[in-house]
């Protein structure tokens, strides 16, 4: 006999035992088992609960219903058991009704209406039944969210840091620009005051005067000719320009030396000069600082320069008179 059928037969026997419908001998055998056999005792407990629940729900009928009322309910203890079953049943119905009407209900801790219990048990199944794929999916999603969140956080911090850096640089640049502007202003101010000072000095300075020059023409010295020509140098003279007339223009360049006739020292030498035609005469011109000359006799010696050699061509004596 299949085990399911055997189970059903056993359940039927138990029901009959509970309803007092078994023959005395068989009932006594089950009496013994109900006390001495652990497994049987537990099965009998379950069977009794199911029987009582069935009666409470109105599922019993016919002989079973009659026997239940006549035999089972003859005991106060068993009647109490029925009342408990009814209370348990009604508590579930109460919460189901309350949930359906959305009204105030006596909330049994943890109790849910039938349909909600079904839903909640379905919900619980999602998390309690080992649905590995779903669990792994949730785990991966959680890890992905964690990494994503961490990456975004790090990126945010990096960008914030960059923004701060840029802001700081901008501030530094602005400050530098301000400093440069300040320096420029200071420079402008300094320039302005310098210009002012210059103007002031110009105003205080005497007007520039024209140079005082004395010019004279000197002829070469002739043998036996009289006194040397006099060059008058008034006070305040700046320069004495002397033109030395040449008898002939035989050299490409000339040089002039000023000799003190008293000490015979050369006081001054010119650079190489070129002779120039002035009028009908050819001559070279020199310019001496007036401060070089004293009231005395001097000699100007004219040298013809050719390459590195120089040849004395003529002498031009003169006397300086300071007036």
């Amino acid at each position: 006999m299949p085990s399911a059928d055997k189970q059903r037969l056993n359940d039927l026997v138990l029901s009959r035992y509970l309803l007092g419908s078994l023959p005395a001998e068989e009932a006594e055998r089950l009496d013994e088992l109900s006390v001495a056999d652990d497994e049987f005792a537990l099965r009998l407990d379950a069977a009794e609960n199911d029987l009582v629940d069935a009666y409470a729900r109105g599922e019993l009928s016919g002989d079973a219903l009659e026997q239940f009322q006549k035999f089972y309910l003859s005991s106060p203890r068993r009647r109490e058991k029925l009342e408990f079953a009814r209370t348990l049943l009604h508590s579930g119905e109460r919460t189901a009704d309350a949930g359906a009407r959305a009204t105030t209900r006596h909330a049994i801790p943890g109790a849910k209406p039938t349909d909600q219990t079904s839903q909640s048990s379905s919900l619980r199944r999602w998390f309690t039944v080992p649905r590995l794929r779903l669990q792994w999916g949730f785990a991966f999603a959680a890890v992905a969210l964690l990494f994503g969140g961490s990456y975004l956080f790090v990126e945010n911090e990096r960008l914030r840091h960059q923004a701060n850096e840029a802001r700081n640089q901008q501030i530094a640049l602005n400050q530098h620009a301000q400093e440069l502007e300040k320096q420029l202003d200071e420079q402008r101010s300094t320039n302005a005051s310098t210009v002012k000072e210059l103007d002031r000095l110009r105003e205080t300075l005497p007007p520039p005067r024209a140079l005082k020059i004395v010019a004279a023409l000197l002829l070469p010295q002739m043998r036996g000719v009289g006194e040397a020509p006099t060059v008058s140098v008034p006070p305040g003279t700046d320069q004495v320009q002397l033109r030395l007339q040449l008898e002939s223009n035989d050299f490409p360049a000339y040089q002039v030396a000023l000799r003190d006739s008293v000490t015979n020292q050369v006081l001054w030498r010119s650079a190489k000069l070129k002779a120039k035609l002035q009028g009908d005469a050819v001559g070279v011109s020199i310019s001496l600082a007036a401060s070089l000359l004293k009231q005395q006799n001097y000699m100007l010696e004219l040298y013809g320069a050719a390459g590195t050699s120089a040849e004395l061509m003529a002498s031009y004596p003169f006397r300086v008179v300071l007036k």
Partner: protein, 168 residues
Amino acid sequence: MRRRLVRYFDFRNCPFPDDLADETLNRVARKLEEKGEIVGATPAHYCYIVARLVLLESVRRRDHDGPSLDDTERSGGVLASLAKPSEPAIDTAVKERLFTCLEQCLSKLRTQERELILEYYQGIQREKIERRSQMAAQRGLTMNALSIRACRIRTKLEACVKACSEET
């Protein structure tokens, strides 16, 4: 064991199954004290043997003395106001008291026990069987193991509700 004995005496229609169960256990305990061990039978089977003896004595006594007023009063418990044994008439106040006690007793259970007991007894007939099958699968239990677990929780609840209702 005591609960089994109470049920045994109750199904034998003894008026005071609790007292007889206690008497049985006292005799077994005395025997153990005297002899130190129980030989020839398992402890549970020995309990049955003694219970059967106690039952016979009780029946003999009843047959001899007849039922008394005390018997009727003591056998009522919370439901002493029953009108007909076949169909107990429970007034609304009692029902409400029982319901309140059930609420309190459910709150004393652990969450897992509470959820199990409420779900186990939901539904009717085929739906109930399928629900229980699913529950067993969810918890990795056989149907039998689930049934045993539900029974134990229910027994605990029943005792709690009875104690509560007798207090109030």
